[in-house]
Every structure is written in structure tokens, then in C-alpha cells.
């Protein structure tokens, strides 16, 4: 086969790599295609064959949406385990494991940076941290982000990836829904734009609060979005759920989303929305659209 290798030199190098790069391959959950992870990353972590959107972590999300550098806020906030909750494992222990695993103190990153030149406040939830669940820390960080957005008059973007309220912080988690929604009422009154991006999965108390309260609610394709989880619904109604139920496309069809946007087009879509919300005919104003007014 020597002649063949010579002719297809690029293939040879790929083949060569394959030997040394086990674990750098992944299988598409949707079409079962084996994909080289580098190719997957180059394609916004969507399957090059069927465009299935893989979950991405919060930091990757920041890289995809910000133009360059960003400044992170409130990263020191950490849960104090208000309930001293313990099931099979102490919640405190679970938290410290998660903190080690993700390098984050809790399930959301709040950052300021620029998106196609416009300053924005961006919250990105981390699904790897206890399912992106919302306890006091997530609630507090998002509320602070909204208040910062309001004070600076800088548009807000929240990218959700969350199973909902965090059980281990009990009713305190539930109250974060009210707290965040109240802050969003103020942002709404001040007419500072808020774009909600729903990604796989966004369910429970997250959907039933800030994720559905954007001036625009846009979702990535194929994301599970709903209030009750599919298993809970199946148990309640004692029947199998139809294919595609509670997926982005289902919600779009039922009028619950403003758009379903591919990850590769998401930044452009958000930029257009921000332009729509903040553009002014005054040239000076237009250049500074979305920027905080001079003090």
C-alpha cells in the first residue's frame, strides 16, 4: 500500500495521528458519526454531518460570543449550603467536587466584554456544575449582572443551560426566580435590551423565570426547553412523549420562541438585535450605541 500512502499524503498524516490521539474522537449523539474533536471545535461544536449541537461549557460560550478579552465579575461568590443538605452525599462535598472539576465556584459566569464592538454584560451558565442548577449563588450573580447592566445601561445577554432550581438549597433556590424576575422588571422599565439564549437543556425554574423573559428569547437548534422534565410528564400522563416534544423547533412552532438560531450564526443574530434596540439616527449616538452615557 506504499504507493497509495504516497499519493494521499494528507491522509497518511491523519492516519498517523489517529494512532496517537485516541480520546480525541467523539461520536455524534444524533447521527452516530465519529468526529475528530478538532473538526467539531472548528464547526462551533456542532456535528459537521447533521449539525447536532453539542453542549459547550461556559468559557467556550464566552469565547464564541465576545470579540476578545472580557472581565469576569463576582467569581468569588460560593454557596454556604444554607440547608446543610445531605442525601447520599453531603451537598457541601458535592460542591467542592464540582468546584474542583469545573474550576468555578458555582454554575454561572458573569462577564463584561464586547460583542461586535458593542459593550455587553453576559451571563453564561455552566451545565457541568450540578446540571447548571440555580441556587442562591446563581441567583445572586445573575441579579447583580442585571443591576450592573441597568446601572451602566449596557445590554444584557443570558445564555441558559440549566436543569432549574437547585434542590439542595430548597426554597431558597425557588426564591431566586422571583428575585431575578423582579430585577428584570426594572431592566425592562429602563428599556435596556435583554436577549435570552436558551441552550440544551433549559428546564424548570430557569425557564419559568429569566430564560423566558428576554426582549427576545432565542434558542439553539434541538435544545430541550420546558417547565416540567420529560420524565415527570411521562409519569404523570402515563404515555410516551412524541418525538421532538419540548425541543426548540417544537417551541418555535408553538410560538414560544422568537427564533431558533444555529450556534455559528448566534453572534450575528444577537448583534443585529442589539443594533435594532439601540440604534439612533444621531451619528454620535449611533457610534456609541449600547455604550453607557457619559456621566
Amino acid at each position: 500500500m506504499a504507493w497509495f500512502r504516497k499519493e494521499k499524503k494528507p491522509l497518511e498524516s491523519v492516519e498517523g495521528k489517529r494512532v496517537h490521539t485516541e480520546g480525541l474522537w467523539t461520536k455524534c449523539e444524533s447521527c452516530r458519526q465519529i468526529i475528530w474533536k478538532k473538526d467539531l471545535e472548528a464547526n462551533w461544536n456542532a456535528c459537521p454531518r447533521c449539525s447536532f449541537h453539542f453542549k459547550i461549557d461556559a468559557r467556550t460560550r464566552l469565547r464564541l460570543l465576545f470579540d476578545g478579552e472580557w472581565v469576569e465579575h463576582y467569581s468569588g461568590l460560593a454557596s454556604t449550603d444554607p440547608l446543610q443538605f445531605k442525601d447520599l452525599k453531603a451537598y457541601r462535598e458535592r460542591l467542592s467536587q464540582m468546584q474542583k472539576k469545573t474550576g468555578m465556584n458555582d454554575a454561572v459566569v458573569v462577564a463584561e466584554g464586547r460583542l461586535e464592538g458593542r459593550p455587553v454584560v453576559l451571563c453564561a451558565m455552566e451545565y457541568n456544575f450540578i446540571g447548571g442548577s440555580m441556587g442562591a449563588v446563581v441567583g445572586e450573580k445573575i441579579t447583580r449582572a442585571i443591576e450592573m447592566s441597568l446601572a451602566k445601561r449596557v445590554p444584557l445577554i443570558i445564555v441558559s443551560a440549566s436543569g432549574g432550581a437547585r434542590m439542595m438549597e430548597g426554597v431558597v433556590s425557588l426564591m431566586q426566580m422571583a428575585k431575578i424576575s423582579a430585577a428584570l422588571a426594572r431592566l425592562d422599565e429602563a428599556r435596556v435590551p435583554y436577549i435570552s439564549v436558551l441552550t440544551d437543556p433549559t428546564t424548570g425554574g430557569t425557564t419559568a423565570s429569566f430564560a423566558m423573559l428576554g426582549d427576545l428569547n432565542v434558542a439553539e437548534p434541538g435544545a430541550l426547553i420546558g417547565f416540567a422534565g420529560p420524565r415527570v410528564i411521562e409519569q404523570t400522563i402515563c404515555q410516551k412523549l412524541p418525538e421532538g416534544f419540548q425541543r426548540s423547533e417544537f417551541l418555535l412552532e408553538h410560538g414560544m420562541l422568537d427564533a431558533v438560531v444555529d450556534r455559528k450564526d448566534l453572534k450575528t443574530y444577537i448583534a443585529r438585535a442589539l443594533e435594532f434596540c439601540t440604534w439612533t439616527s444621531d451619528k454620535a449616538g449611533s457610534a456609541a450605541a449600547g455604550a453607557p452615557p457619559a456621566p
Binding site: M177, K179, A182, F227, H254
Partner: protein, 327 residues
């Protein structure tokens, strides 16, 4: 169990505490890992103890599960029972003007001590037929949309609002999801935060998660002595963490869902006492105990200029559970 060779629970607790301290000191991950294993070993020993052994029982205050049962007691007064005893001239307002009339939430104009007010609440049914009619108090999106529509009507004419929470949760079904259960609740949370009239919320039975909160944002949040308020039902919690909904009693304790727990956490403002044995024993007496508290909360809220009222409401939820460290 007296001949059980296990050390008493207090000793296990003390050992675990010591291990925790050592873990803080240990610098090598390997040592930490070993200590953690020892910790969980002791944990297993504790779990192996029979709950019948009184010496092994936690000195935890009894009753979280008892409270759950009382909150769900079939003879407990429901929203419309309170309406009968607290208000006059209740005139129901139906429908969300979009899809339908959800009978799991009832709204109506009424008089409270002579003053026109809006009263609304989740309604469970007592007979089987009634339970089905009320969908067990589990509202669908049209229920939440009706509620906010009627609340906005009340606000337009400066009428105070009383809401009464009593639901296992928002209905988890295909139709509810298709019509935007999450959006309906979310919208209510945002809009209730800024309705320019006093809102007095009372948890009268089961405060079931987001489904309860969907009509639960207000200036005062009261809870009856034997009512509960929780992020998840004890059964579902047990099914998730112990993979056994039979462990609901344990979950009820862990979730800290009783009135006392909620008051301690600052999630509710006040506990309203119930007649001896519980509200189910005497509906009229239960309402009579609630009435003066509602009156006081309303008159406090009504005194405030609207901006102050809304600021106070914002701060109330803003401050909820400042349980964090760092920064």
C-alpha cells in the same frame, strides 16, 4: 438493638468532625482521598442504624413529614373555604381571554372588611369529581395568564390583591408545555414584582414550587402554621436522591419546608397560627385567625406611596437568602 456493637451516633459524628478537620490540614490529594473514604465509611455506618433505635435517632425536631400530611389533609380548608369566611360578595372573574378558563385557579372581586379587593388562589377539590374539575389544584398556562390579567385589572382600579397558595405544582402535561407553562409563570413573576397595588400572599396548604410562586410574589408572604413551601415535593426529591419515593419522610426533613424553617430563612414574613390540631379541625376558626393578620399587612402596605411599596417589594426578594461567601 441494645446488643448492637456499633458505637453510638454521637461518637460517629465526633469522628466525622475530626476527619473533616484533618482533611482541611492534609495537603496531598491522596491523603485527602483516604480521609474522604473514611468519612463516607462512617456515613454508611450511620445509615445502617435502625431508625427504631431511639438512641440512634437524630435529635431533630419531629414533624416535617407530619406537616406535609397536614398541609395536604383532605379536610383542610381550601381557597374557596377561606373566601367564604374572609370575604363578602365574592364575584368570580373567568378566563385568560386567549385560550380558556382554568378552574385550578379561581379569581374574584370581593369585599374585605368593606373594601373592594381582588382575591385569587389555587383551588383543590374535595370530592373525586371536584378534584378532577379542579385538576387537583394544578394550573395550566391559562390559569397563570388569567391570574395576571385579573390582577392587572385590579391594579388599574387601585384595588389590593390577596393571593392564596395551595397547589402540588403547576400541571406537568403535554398541553401545558405546548402552551408555554414556563413562560406563563415567568411573566407573572416579573409583572407581580411591579403591580402598583398591595399584594398579600398567604400559603394556606401546599406551596408547590414554581406553580405556587407563579401567584406568590407580593409585599407580605404569610404561611399558615401547618402549611409547607418547597422547591420540590418530598416524594420527587426522594425519587431523585434515594431513587425511592418511599424515603419522602427523610426528604421532607432535608428540604426544610416547614413554616418555622421558612421563617428562619427569611422566605416568609410571618407564621399564622391554626386552631388546635390544625386548620382542618375548624375552618371558621382558621379563617378568624388569618383575618387580623391580613388586615394588618394590608393596612401597612396601603400606607406606603406606590414607589416605596414597590421598592420595599423589590428589596424583600432581593435580600432573599444571602448565603454566600467570598468577595
Amino acid at each position: 438493638m441494645s446488643d448492637d456493637p456499633q458505637p453510638p451516633r454521637q461518637e460517629l459524628d465526633a469522628l466525622q468532625k475530626r476527619i473533616r478537620e484533618l482533611e482541611q490540614l492534609a495537603s496531598e490529594p491522596e491523603a485527602q482521598e483516604k480521609l474522604r473514604k473514611m468519612y463516607s465509611l462512617l456515613e454508611d455506618m450511620k445509615e445502617g442504624e435502625s431508625p427504631d433505635d431511639p438512641s440512634a435517632a437524630e435529635p431533630a425536631p419531629p414533624g416535617a413529614w407530619q406537616r406535609v400530611l397536614l398541609a395536604r389533609h383532605p379536610q383542610r380548608p381550601y381557597f374557596l373555604d377561606y373566601v367564604q369566611h374572609l370575604f363578602e360578595g365574592f364575584s368570580e372573574v373567568h378566563g385568560d381571554r386567549g385560550f380558556g378558563d382554568d378552574t385550578a385557579i379561581v379569581c374574584g372581586m370581593a369585599r374585605f372588611q368593606g373594601q373592594p379587593v381582588l382575591a385569587l388562589g389555587q383551588q383543590k377539590g374535595r370530592s373525586t369529581k371536584d378534584k378532577l374539575h379542579r385538576n387537583f389544584g394544578m394550573a395550566k398556562p391559562e390559569g397563570y395568564r388569567k391570574a395576571i390579567r385579573v390582577m392587572q385589572y385590579a391594579a388599574k382600579f387601585a384595588r389590593p390583591i390577596f393571593t392564596f397558595l395551595d397547589t402540588p405544582g403547576a400541571y406537568p402535561g403535554i398541553d401545558a408545555e405546548a402552551r408555554g407553562q414556563a413562560e406563563a409563570i415567568a411573566y407573572n413573576l416579573r409583572e407581580m414584582a411591579r403591580l402598583p397595588v398591595p399584594i398579600i400572599v398567604t400559603v394556606i396548604g401546599e406551596g408547590g414550587s414554581g406553580g405556587a410562586l407563579g401567584i406568590g410574589v407580593g409585599d407580605s408572604v404569610l404561611i399558615l402554621e401547618n402549611a409547607i413551601y418547597s422547591v420540590i415535593s418530598p416524594e420527587s426529591c426522594a425519587a431523585i436522591v434515594w431513587r425511592n419515593s418511599g424515603k419522602a419522610e427523610l426528604a421532607a426533613e432535608a428540604l426544610k419546608l416547614t413554616a418555622e424553617d421558612l421563617l428562619k430563612m427569611g422566605v416568609v414574613d410571618e407564621i399564622v397560627p391554626e386552631p388546635p390540631g390544625g386548620a382542618q379541625a375548624d375552618h371558621r376558626a382558621a379563617a378568624a385567625l388569618l383575618a387580623p393578620v391580613l388586615e394588618r399587612c394590608l393596612s401597612e402596605a396601603a400606607q406606603l406611596p406606590v414607589n416605596d411599596l414597590l421598592d420595599r417589594r423589590y428589596q424583600k426578594f432581593r435580600k432573599m437568602a444571602q448565603f454566600w461567601t467570598g468577595e
